[in-house]
């Protein structure tokens, strides 16, 4: 029995319904992947928000032992911040190139962005090896490594995504100006990771 007989109260001949007959396949529904990614990034951002809240609470209520007041070296992290901000810009230029269908240029910008990401990670590593404290020294040290480490994990993932996108962009017709979700997703994620770093930098190094 095929039912689909509507109750009389549910309008059978809705004008909208007649104007837009539904295709009986869900392959036709609009692409909402970017929207889904934004929701996921909100969730990811809340993880950082939890870490930041914990860090600020520690700052407020847990005094450190006397020998544990550190003056963090500012030059390298500041340069690193600029590197990361520049990488957001280069990714954006890559996106512009993609929209103009100049794939070779686009791939160049992608490689440059990935290189900047790698440079950031290298700078972070250098900082880790030259800091006067280790992971378990005190509360500030632990929080410092947990926050920067969790962010570094995000940068690493983003750089790997970028290399995948770079490889995909080399395949003819994989990305078009109209259809390039993978590219957009990697770009959005990268900007997100950048934005988080700016907050993290302000809280950890400047505050």
């Amino acid at each position: 029995m095929t039912i689909l007989t509507q109750r009389p109260t549910a309008p059978l001949s809705d004008p909208l319904e007649e104007a837009q007959p539904q295709a009986p396949a869900h392959s036709h529904h609009p692409d909402v992947r970017l929207f889904g990614l934004i929701i996921f990034l909100v969730a990811d951002g809340m993880t950082f928000a939890g870490f930041f809240a914990a860090y600020l609470t520690y700052r407020a209520v847990n005094p450190l032992p006397v020998n544990a007041e550190y003056e963090l070296e500012l030059l390298l992290p500041a340069v690193n911040t600029l590197v990361l901000l520049a990488s957001s810009l280069t990714f954006h230029r890559g996106s512009k190139a993609l929209m103009a269908s100049r794939m070779a240029t686009c791939r160049g910008w992608l490689l440059l962005t990935a290189a900047l990401g790698a440079a950031f990670m290298a700078g972070q590593m250098w900082e880790y090896f030259h800091l006067p404290f280790g992971l378990t020294d005190n509360l500030f040290a632990s929080t410092f490594y947990a926050l920067t480490g969790f962010h570094g994990l995000h940068v690493t993932l983003g750089a790997m995504m970028m290399l995948i996108v770079w490889w995909q962009a080399g395949r003819k017709g994989y990305f078009t100006p109209e259809n390039h979700f993978g590219f957009e997703a990697a770009e959005l994620y990268w900007h997100f990771v950048d934005g988080v770093w700016v907050v993290l930098f302000a809280l950890l190094y400047l505050l």
Binding site: M1, T2, I3, L4, Q6, R7, P8, T9, A10, P11, D14, L16, E17, Q20, P21, Q22, P24, A25, H26, H29, P30, V32, R33, F35, G36, I39, F40, V42, A43, D44, G45, M46, T47, F48, A49, G50, F51, A53, A54, T57, Y58, V61, N62, L64, P65, L135, T136, N138, L139, S142, T143, A146, F150
Partner: protein, 544 residues
């Protein structure tokens, strides 16, 4: 009955992308873990028959209560009210063929069984976690590390699954609605799932962060939450409850939505106060995020914090109360069909109101300080999640089983199940209020002999609850095999899942998705209401 499509049985054991199959996978997996968690609860009640720890060793008792809480919350209630009914119903209600991200949906489900078995396996690998479902440090740092780490990994997996599910629900409800269907024409369950998913997205990651820091404390020797190393255990409590108070709403908001679907159909009346129901959900979502510290009144919270969280918690009773009066008004002068689904809903209303009242009482600092960590809290919590949500889960199973299987459940067994559940539940948990008020602490295997009689009464209730599962199991197995054919729409319902065959075809409707802009249009002339309810009907048609 011409069923257009049979999902092959093996698809239920595989990586199916069909939201209906995934919903049933969630339901069956969740129910399996309900039986496991229920067995653990039975062990707890057996232990508490006598004041001495003679049934289990004390640390075994701690493992059992930890596993019981974790399994019931993370593997039964959250996956079933969200994963099972959310997945089964939301695409129907928005007029879609499937969820927005079917593959992500399947991934989210398949994170569940490994997490569950990981958790259970920990008992056999050096013992399960012993620090309760809250895993408060420093207890969780000092108890054996292996079980605690497995617990953390399992909860992280389940949290990830929950977040993936929430992303899917938000995208489906906001972006996949059929053309012509407005947000304020959606069935209430969609709004409940939208609110729940917002809570999951905002709160669950914070728990994940807290658990990552806790695992570093356990394995890497950091001191985030370890006072011995200069850390702060209360920060963990803040992070934990920032998730786990909203988690109560993550467990109960979908149940609110399900009740709002079931009541109008079996009372043959429109849902009372549609808009106020929606605003109540949104109010609960907002307030639910700013009340967490009422769990921590004895953790050295400063006075301003106590004041703020007491007031915020008291305010949350307002939107909840609005929902209750709306449900009562929906039932009022309705043409009630007193079947299992409606009876379980009525049981829910009774139990949840009681749990809500003790909740408001617990939000008051002087009272909370007195009964904190006693059996009063245990009783309150079980009135919310068992008397509340689990009763709704059973109501929903009685209501939607005909759609899922094409066969009706037996009403006699169903009512027996309802009666036994209601009696067993109240006999088990009502006396625990008295225990708590008189000072019996929770989470102990041994207690003062003066509490023995009340504990034994409670255990009798637990036995009744265990027995109540039997008619249900017999009913489901027998009805799925030989039950009366349900037909497409046995309840004469308006919502779109009933406007297709039972069970529905793969893409939900063979033709285009039906447009239902008034999902609660009951009580009109075609319902042939008896004379006694004419006044009620006129009231409603005049109000529209």
């Amino acid at each position: 009955m011409d069923v257009q499509h049979h999902t092959p049985w093996h698809e239920y054991f595989g990586f199916s992308l069909d939201h209906k199959v995934i919903g049933i996978q969630y339901l069956v997996t969740g129910f399996f873990f309900y039986l496991v968690g229920g067995t653990l609860a039975g062990m707890i009640r057996v232990e508490l028959v006598t004041p001495l720890s003679d049934f289990m060793a004390r640390d075994t008792y701690n493992q059992v209560l930890t596993l019981h809480g974790t399994i019931m919350i993370f593997l039964w209630i959250v996956p079933v009210v969200n994963g099972a009914f959310g997945n089964y119903l939301v695409p129907f209600y928005v007029g879609a063929r499937d969820m927005a991200f079917p593959r992500l949906n399947a991934v989210a489900f398949w994170m569940l069984p490994p997490a569950g078995f990981l958790l259970l396996s920990s008992y056999f690998i050096g013992g399960a976690a012993q620090s309760g479902w809250t895993a408060y440090p420093p207890l969780s740092i000092t108890t054996p590390a292996v079980g605690q780490m497995i617990w953390i990994m399992s909860v992280l997996l389940l949290g990830g699954s929950s977040i993936f599910g929430a992303v899917n629900f938000i995208a489906t409800i906001l972006k996949l609605r059929r053309p012509g269907l407005g947000l304020f024409q959606l069935p209430m369950f969609c709004w409940a799932m939208l609110g729940t998913s917002v809570l999951v997205v905002l709160a669950t990651p914070v728990l994940a962060g807290a658990l990552i820091l806790l695992s570093m404390d356990i394995v890497a020797g950091t001191g985030f939450f370890n006072p011995a190393l200069g850390g702060n255990a209360v920060v963990y409590q803040h992070l934990f409850w920032f998730y786990s108070h909203p988690a109560v709403y993550i467990m109960v908001l979908p149940a609110f939505g399900l009740v709002s679907e079931i009541l109008p159909i079996h009372a043959r009346k429109p849902l009372f106060g549609y808009r106020s129901m929606i605003y109540s959900i949104l109010g609960i979502v907002f307030l639910g995020l700013i009340v967490w510290a009422h769990h921590m009144f004895t953790s050295g919270t400063p006075p301003w914090m106590r004041l703020f969280f007491t007031i915020a918690t008291a305010i949350i009773a307002v939107p909840t109360g609005i929902k209750f009066f709306n449900w009562l008004a929906t039932l009022w002068q309705g043409k009630l069909a007193l079947n299992s689904a409606l009876l379980f809903c009525c049981g829910f209303i009774f139990n949840f109101v009681f749990g809500g009242i003790t909740g408001v009482a617990l939000a008051q600092v002087p009272f909370d300080v007195h009964v904190h960590d006693t059996y009063f809290v245990v009783a309150h919590f079980h009135y919310i999640v068992f008397g509340g949500t689990v009763f709704v889960i059973f109501a929903a199973i009685y209501h939607w089983f005909p759609k899922m299987s094409g066969r009706l459940l037996n009403e006699h067994l169903g009512r027996l199940h309802c009666l036994l559940s209601f009696l067993g539940f109240n006999i088990c948990f009502f006396p625990q209020h008295w225990l708590g008020l008189n000072g019996m602490p929770r989470r102990v295997a041994e207690y003062d002999p003066q509490f023995q009689l009340i504990n034994q009464i409670s255990s009798v209730g637990a036995l009744l609850l265990a027995i109540s599962t039997l008619p249900f199991l017999i009913n489901v197995v027998w009805s799925a095999w030989k039950g009366a054919p349900a037909g497409d729409n046995p309840w004469r319902a308006c919502t779109t899942e009933w406007l297709t065959s039972s069970p529905p075809p793969v893409e939900n409707w063979l033709r285009e998705a039906p447009l239902v802009t008034e999902p609660y249009d009951y009580g009109s002339v075609e319902d042939a209401m008896p004379v006694t309810t004419v006044r009620g009907r006129e009231l409603w048609s005049a109000g529209r």
